[in-house]
Amino acid sequence: MPGKEQLMRYLPWISTPVLLAVILGLWNLAVSLGASQYTLPPPGEVYDALLELIRRPDVWTVHMRTTLVEAVAGFGIGLVSGVIVGAVLGRVVWLERAVRPMVVALQVVPKVALVPLFVIWFGFGMTSKVIVAAILAFFPIMLNVLLGVRSVDPGHRDVMTSLNAGRWQTFWALEFHSTLPYVFAGMEVGIVFAVIGAIVGEYLGGNEGLGFLVVDTLNALNAPELYAVIILLAVLGYLLFFAVNVAKRLMIPWHESVTLKDIT
């Protein structure tokens, strides 16, 4: 008989297909009860549209590629700048105090509202979308790193002090490891935000990317294909999140967020 722990481990593998089946069943039911073809096409039609979509080479070489590059490049920029700014603000207390009102102001602005501005400044190409993705990814990463740099255990610091550790030794043995979980927490939010940024950017301008495809199929009132594109987007977002999650597992295997067997 399988133990409770083992059951917990395999639970998502059982529950997810069940939940998907339930959703599909409800979906079919709604369609058979007479939902409009334009709001809710039957699952079969969406499936056909999805098959057709993934057989189109331009979906991969143009649209998927564009969105992927925008999201990943934006995430990369957001990560590097977020870590640098977060670390500096975390360490230089007076600077953090000086810029805090501005940071809060920037944070509460719905950044998506700035997208038209970026289109004006950087054009309809990939640059404006990369920048939107980068800005969206930047804030969660920066704030987490700032918190992480400040959250180094004073007791651990005492240990390093009592061992005569130098500045760099303290960084490598203590601060680096201690901050990494915060970096990854920020990255997990940041990668999702970067995908959102790239797609919203594509909604507003340009003629490439999965976001553009969403708008395009909407304009053509092609509901099955619209659903299919959204499914592709979900898969893209999931895969990117998964990549970050795997990196986390490799880099901080000791951390609670890894050792507690969660679903992701």
């Binding site: 007791g155 043995a173 000791w254 050792t259």
Partner: protein, 298 residues
């Protein structure tokens, strides 16, 4: 590095200690002997005071503490919480700068030119109330950390870590992460980390405070044999009078606000002491006397 005690330690006491790897290594660790102080005081506090400044005003944590601790002596600091015993230990460890007064370790000032003397600090080993192990390092990496910081090669320092794991009873857990250990095991790992570089002085701040009574008794016995085997000077902060009397050669009782030395009591039961020493009338007398001193302040 070590200004160790090959000179006086022999005459000081006729302690027969079993030949552990620790001792053999200590003898080869190089003794300078250039500052062989006559009285062989390992640690000295001379009129040390410490004030903390808070928004509500300043608090005198310690006032005019003068205390001399001999080489290989086991001293326990007891007192109510807030009496400044932890502050005193942190001052001895060089983690807190005294407001006034001088701290000498091995005859050398611990502080000079506003900084801690690294060579002197290197002779001190510290064990905190919490183990403060680094969760990202395995047990053996944690124990070997002080050696890593000293530039000891990887093979050598892990070898030493395994040796220490055996000494403190952690064999089989070398590769475990700290979170996989029980509280008592973590504290043992922390002690092993402090012992890794063979410090002449072991400073411990309520190291077993968070452990249950049974584990604590066991750890006390182990600490006694470790201290004997490693020939270290030990300063132990504790709020348990029984623990202090059981372990220490001298019990220093602090009274609070401002923290001052209330009394110093010699305890001369033979070592190694067994748990049944607590049943002896003289043990009980000492505990009773210290307790009444504590109660006077309440």
């Amino acid at each position: 590095m070590r200004a160790g005690g090959n000179d006086s330690s022999m005459t000081q006491q006729g302690l027969k200690t079993a030949g552990t790897p620790d001792i053999a290594a200590r003898e080869g660790s190089g003794v300078t002997g250039s500052r062989a102080v006559g009285a062989s005081a390992e640690l000295e506090l001379v009129e040390v005071s410490k004030e903390f400044h808070a928004r509500s005003g300043s608090v005198v944590a310690l006032k005019d503490i003068t205390l001399s601790i001999r080489r290989r002596e086991f001293v326990a600091l007891v007192g109510r919480s807030g009496c400044g015993k932890t502050t005193m230990l942190r001052i001895l460890a060089g983690l807190t700068h005294p407001t006034r007064g001088t701290v000498l370790a091995g005859g050398r000032p611990l502080w000079h030119d506003g900084g801690r003397d690294p060579e002197t600090v290197a002779r001190l080993g510290l064990v905190f109330q919490d183990a403060h192990l680094f969760p990202w390092y395995s047990v053996e990496e944690n124990i070997a950390l002080p050696l890593k910081l000293r530039g000891v090669g990887k093979a050598e320092r892990l070898e030493r870590a395994r040796e220490l794991c055996a000494l403190v009873g952690l064999t089989g857990f070398e590769r475990s992460y700290p979170r996989e250990l029980s509280g008592g095991m973590r504290q043992r790992a922390a002690i092993a980390r402090a012992l890794s570089y063979r410090p002449g002085v072991l400073l411990m701040d309520e190291p077993f405070g968070a452990l249950d009574a049974l584990t604590r008794e066991k750890m006390n016995l182990e600490l006694q044999s470790l201290a004997m085997a490693s020939e270290s000077t030990v300063v132990l902060v504790t709020h348990s009078i029984r623990e202090a009397v059981f372990l220490a050669d001298r019990v220093v009782l602090l009274s609070p606000r401002p923290g001052r030395i209330r009394s110093i009591t010699d305890v001369d039961f033979r070592r190694p002491r067994q748990l049944d020493v607590e049943a002896e009338p003289r043990f009980q007398e000492i505990v009773k006397e210290l307790r009444s001193q504590l109660d006077e302040e309440a």
